[in-house]
């Protein structure tokens, strides 16, 4: 049973062998082995191994065959728990065997045995995300060597739902043999063998385990999405694979670009599984559209009026646009039903910030005909690009594609990271069209000309690493022990200016010293799953006697907006927000709302109802609460003290505002001139206005902001009034007047500096 491929401690393997033969002996050996190996796994494996391995006996790690695995799956007892299989299990097993990947299980295993890195291409619907990790599970037999299998997902929701699905398929309880781990939530136990996790989470873990030694196989799923974390992981794994020859790596991608992955991983072998797709007919418009939303609504209605049965998927860019289109389509459909006997059509919006139960509604069946023998009903889903790859909705036959999506973009020159409506790529357009062919041949209506498709769309969407601020990434890489950032072998290295900005920002935050080495503060900041500026603010907050409050504010800034402002009752919502308003700004207003929420909770009120009445999002407040607890634990484990200034002290709020400056001194704007509403951001000299959602009434001269929002206008959002003296005092390295260009800002700051000096001189004189 010895494993030739693995060079992990042979002693450990011997004991694992012992386990399967003699439980009594294994108990002893397991104990001492676990000490050096993985203390958390020690106690659970004893009885598990006995039952499990007896059912899997005869299978050699990394030498199994598809036949052996299938026999084990067909068995009466679950090889992983030793419990009898449920009826439901066999039902699911049957559908699993119908998936396209199943046919290639043997081929997959053969390739897997013969290579360290494998590129796997399977279109959506091939079953790769759920099946491949299980095939690996039956081959790695992780109970023998106590090493886990990890499968990464770009999105939290996907990690959770896929883990649930796979737990069902294996007939185990979620969190036991199959678990998941996402930021601020870890649902695994020491029994866990297969772990779904976000790519970001694996990255964080590897900061403390540079070799990822807990894992025997790492599967990067949805690699084609090229998220920031996946790109970094690929680069790291490429390095680790040199050091750890026993580590297996599978890169899974849904589309195209497979050669790029192959080439990047030193010509790794490729296995492709065809998806279950049907042909899709593509239509273009003869001319460019004047208004793509209008055109999209019209196209949906025309499909409904003239095309045979089948659901419609329309891609738009954002919440507001989607809700607007949904309203218009519903209204028009009602009229069509009244006037021309059209079939019924239900319209569902779908976007990231929609509550989960509402997101689930898109899976409901299309409505029945209005009367017997009437025209068939259909559903129409109006979605952002989350329906492009991550969600699979069956029954879609028609896709309407205006060719836009909201994309994050960052430019180091103006230091603005924002979501902008941009044209999609050709790859994206193909992916969207493919959504129409999931159940039967479909049609895709592109609201642009064929010429525009060929000439105006870029080939591939830019990977996230080219569109992001990298200060967080650079900090992580430093912590991961990457010394040479310039030659770090990324698939698509970012622009040098982006790297330069990131290093500079970290230097100003004192996370890196002038030589680019990680400082103590930087090391500590990297422990927090937060942006460096938030982490630094949190770490320094005890110096301002308000770490409790800053911890709350940090948590509130880490979740989506807690304010609810429904279209139907904007005025009431604004009135309610006023109740929590603090004259000095939005950060303090957030804090007030949170305190009120906790107050209601402590009084034992129905918090859900309370939130509803006060136009606050219960969901986001609870997750802020959860985040707070997680961060609290990290703070405690690093000995950061939790304290508050007494509420009655006149400096209660001043201290909080000063603490905000310690993290956000690079996000400050000065009013351009008296009685102007325009502010100028410091050093970048961008003209901005304060976002209308602010509670600030007075036009303060100096404000600190959490976020720069770029639409057709430039706004700063979540804003707090600060005093310029604090900038000079708390962040002298950034506010070194010699570095400033001549101008109003420099003049104003010089005046402030002189005032401070005068005051000190007077004090000294006395």
């Amino acid at each position: 049973m010895a494993d030739e491929n693995s060079r992990a401690s042979s002693k450990k393997r011997a004991s694992a062998e012992g386990d399967s033969e003699n439980n009594k002996r294994s108990k002893v050996e397991n104990g001492d082995m676990a000490d050096k190996y993985n203390p958390y796994l020690a106690h659970t494996y004893e009885n598990n191994d006995m039952e499990g391995s007896s059912l899997l006996s005869g299978m050699k790690r990394r030498e199994t065959t598809a036949r052996q695995a299938e026999r084990a799956e067909d068995g009466e007892y679950n090889p992983w728990t030793g419990q009898p299989h449920s009826q439901r299990y066999f039902g699911i097993l049957k559908t699993r065997r119908d998936l396209p990947v199943h046919k290639q299980r043997a081929e997959f295993l053969e390739m897997y045995h013969n290579t360290q890195i494998l590129v796997f291409v399977g279109e959506t619907g091939s079953g790769k995300t759920t099946q491949i990790p299980q095939y690996v599970l039956y081959d790695e037999l992780p109970h023998l060597n106590k090493k886990l299998i990890a499968c990464t997902q770009p999105r939290r929701v996907a990690a959770m739902s896929v883990a649930q699905r796979v737990a069902d398929e294996l007939d185990v309880k979620l969190g036991e043999e199959v678990g998941y781990s996402i930021r601020f939530e870890n649902k695994t136990t020491p029994r866990t063998l297969l772990k779904y996790m976000t790519d970001g989470q694996l990255l964080r873990e590897s900061m403390h385990d540079h070799d990822m030694s807990r894992y025997s196989c790492i599967i990067l799923d949805e690699a084609h999405e090229r998220t920031l974390a996946t790109d970094i992981l690929m680069a790291l794994l490429k390095q680790i694979s040199e050091r750890r020859k026993d580590l297996k790596i599978i890169i899974m991608s849904a589309t195209l670009d497979a050669q790029k992955f192959q080439k990047y991983f030193n010509n790794a072998p490729l296995l492709a599984v065809p998806g279950r797709t049907h042909p899709v007919e593509i239509f273009y418009t003869p001319e460019a559209e004047r208004d793509y939303v209008e055109a999209a609504v019209r196209t949906v209605l025309q499909i409904h009026a003239t095309e045979p049965e089948g659901d419609i998927l329309l891609f738009l860019t954002g919440e507001e646009e989607i809700e607007d289109a949904c309203r218009r389509i519903s209204l028009e459909t009602d009229e069509m039903i009244r006037e021309s006997d059209a079939g019924p059509m239900v319209v569902y919006p779908l976007y990231g910030t929609l509550p989960p139960q509402q997101q689930q509604r898109i899976f409901e069946k299309a409505p029945a005909p209005l009367r017997k023998g009437g025209r068939p009903g259909r559903k129409c889903i109006v979605s952002t690009n989350i329906a492009e790859t991550s969600l699979t909705i069956d029954g879609i036959v028609y896709v309407v594609d205006p060719g836009f999506s909201k994309q994050k973009i960052y430019n180091p020159r103006s230091r603005v990271e924002s979501l902008l409506v941009s044209p999609i790529s050709k790859a994206s357009a193909q992916q969207r069209a493919g959504r129409a062919g999931r159940t039967r041949p479909g049609k895709c209506f592109r609201l642009y000309t064929e010429k525009a498709f060929k000439k105006e769309l870029i080939e591939q969407t830019y990977p996230e690493i080219l569109r992001s601020n990298l200060s967080n990434t650079v900090l992580e890489l430093k912590k991961l022990g990457v010394e040479d950032l310039v030659h770090f072998d990324l698939m698509d290295p970012p622009a040098p200016e982006t790297m330069m900005r990131a290093l500079e920002e970290l230097n100003y935050l004192a996370c890196l010293d002038d030589d680019g080495e990680l400082t103590t503060l930087g090391g500590l900041a990297s422990e927090f799953p937060l942006d460096p500026s938030l982490a630094v603010m949190l770490i320094t907050s005890p110096e301002f006697y308000c770490s409790n409050e800053i911890l709350s504010i940090t948590s509130l800034l880490s979740v989506p907006q807690i304010w609810v402002r429904p279209n139907s009752s904007r005025k009431r919502a604004d009135e309610m927000k006023r109740q929590f308003a603090h004259p000095d700004g939005d950060h303090l207003t957030l804090l007030n709302a949170y305190h009120a929420f906790k107050g209601a909770e402590n009084r034992g009120e129905d918090v859900k109802k309370w939130c509803h009445e006060h136009f606050l999002s219960f969901r986001h407040l609870s997750s802020a609460d959860n985040v707070r607890n997680q961060l609290l634990r990290i703070m405690e484990s690093h000995g950061l003290e939790l304290m508050s200034t007494p509420f009655n002290d006149k400096n209660y709020y001043v201290n909080i505002r000063r603490a905000l400056v310690s993290g956000f001194f690079m996000q400050v704007a000065m009013r351009e001139s008296t009685n102007s509403k325009v502010y100028k951001t410091i050093k970048d000299n961008q003209l901005v206005m304060i976002h209308p959602s602010t509670v600030l009434d007075n036009p303060y001269e100096w404000v600190l902001y959490n976020e720069f929002v770029l639409t057709s206008k430039q706004y700063v959002r979540t804003v707090t009034n600060i005093r310029p003296e604090w900038l000079l005092e708390i962040a002298p390295q950034y506010y070194n007047l010699e570095d400033f260009e001549k101008g109003e800002v420099k003049t104003a700051l010089t005046r402030v500096a002189e005032k401070v000096q005068r005051r000190q001189a007077m004090k000294g004189g006395r």
Binding site: V421, M500, Q686
Partner: protein, 335 residues
């Protein structure tokens, strides 16, 4: 006294900084740039300048101005490479990168890139502030260019002298006047024909749209009838189109049976049969339409005189074909 003040100004500024109080011209204070203010600025100029600057600062800018200023600032920032910017040289970030071996160009694995394109510039930020579809921007640009080219072309052509112009205008007016008269004569002829038919006990031609094939109408005023019918058809089609949502009215729904059609009032197809008639070729009418308006009018007048004893110029129906009292056939005769 020296040369006249304006001459002195022209000869050069370096003569003296002293202000010439006899000078008749004034420097425009707005043109004095800030850098030149330290010397050669009188107290009056200075006061004016400060006042103006103060006003400019105090003035509340319009939204459009703000937007364009913000955009200009953004563009300025986006254009300037940080690596080249003046203070880029002493940037700590750049220094750290240089320590790691950065020598300009792009990041990534050392040397041996086999022609792989790597990024040396950040991705541009493009802001979309309308809902124009993909390709709309370029379409707009293309149309603008076309229009500009067209304007240039026509500007070249129009180089006619004054006489030509007057002549042309006069001719055009004459033609327009004749066309109006043709139209009036056609109306009269149609009306009189109908009345006569009614008196003779025949069915009038005009009883309803499409009651008779178009070609049976006298070619002299067939154009009039045809234009009217076309307008009517368009009106009905538009109405039907609006009523039937986005479907073309000719759309045949296979799911509908006869009963459905009756219930929905789709049975009558007559309206669209007109269209077929109207779409037919009519060489006789085409020939007539091609005639000069003067000739058309002549034929109509002739018809009115012979068939109805009506003089278009006298606006009078004479009792017999001698038409006593009518001065003549032409308009000039009636002057």
């Amino acid at each position: 006294m020296g040369p006249p003040p304006d001459l002195k100004l022209a000869t050069g500024q370096d003569e003296s900084d002293e202000d010439d109080y006899m000078k008749m011209t004034f420097d425009d204070p707005t043109t004095t740039s800030r850098s030149s203010t330290s010397k050669g600025e009188s107290s009056l100029q200075r006061r004016l300048r400060l006042q103006r600057e103060g006003e400019a600062r105090a003035r509340v800018k319009s939204k459009a101005e703000l937007a364009s200023e913000a955009e200009a600032a953004r563009e300025r920032a986006l254009r300037t490479s940080l690596l080249e910017a003046a203070n880029g040289k002493k940037s700590k970030g750049l220094a750290m990168m240089a320590k790691m071996g950065f020598k300009g160009g792009s990041l990534g694995k050392k040397a041996e890139d086999e022609g792989v394109e790597k990024r040396s510039e950040p991705i541009r930020i493009e802001i979309k502030d309308d809902r124009g579809g993909i390709g709309m921007e370029n379409e707009k640009k293309r149309k603008m260019a076309e229009m500009a080219a067209q304007a240039a072309e026509s500007a070249k052509k129009v180089k006619v002298d004054e006489m030509d112009y007057r002549d042309r205008v006069r001719r055009e007016r004459e033609v327009a006047r004749l066309e109006r008269q043709v139209h009036a004569a056609q109306k009269i002829a149609e009306k009189m024909d109908d009345e006569k038919a009614l008196a003779d006990g025949r069915e009038p031609l005009k009883a309803g749209i499409n009651s008779r094939p178009l070609k049976s109408v006298n070619v002299l005023w067939r154009g009039l009838v045809r234009a009217r019918e076309e307008a009517e058809r368009d009106r009905r089609m538009r109405k039907d189109l609006e009523a039937s949502l986005s479907r073309l009215p000719t759309y045949e729904d296979i799911d509908e049976d006869e009963d459905d059609k009756r219930a929905l009032g789709k049975e009558k197809k007559t309206v669209y049969e007109v269209a077929e008639d109207l779409d037919e070729e009519d060489t006789e009418l085409d020939d007539f339409s091609a005639l000069e308006p003067g000739e058309k009018l002549k034929r109509l007048i002739e018809h009115l005189r012979t068939a109805h004893h009506y003089c278009f110029w006298c606006k009078f129906t004479y009792p017999d074909d001698k038409m006593e009292g009518c001065p003549g056939f032409t308009e000039e005769d009636h002057d």
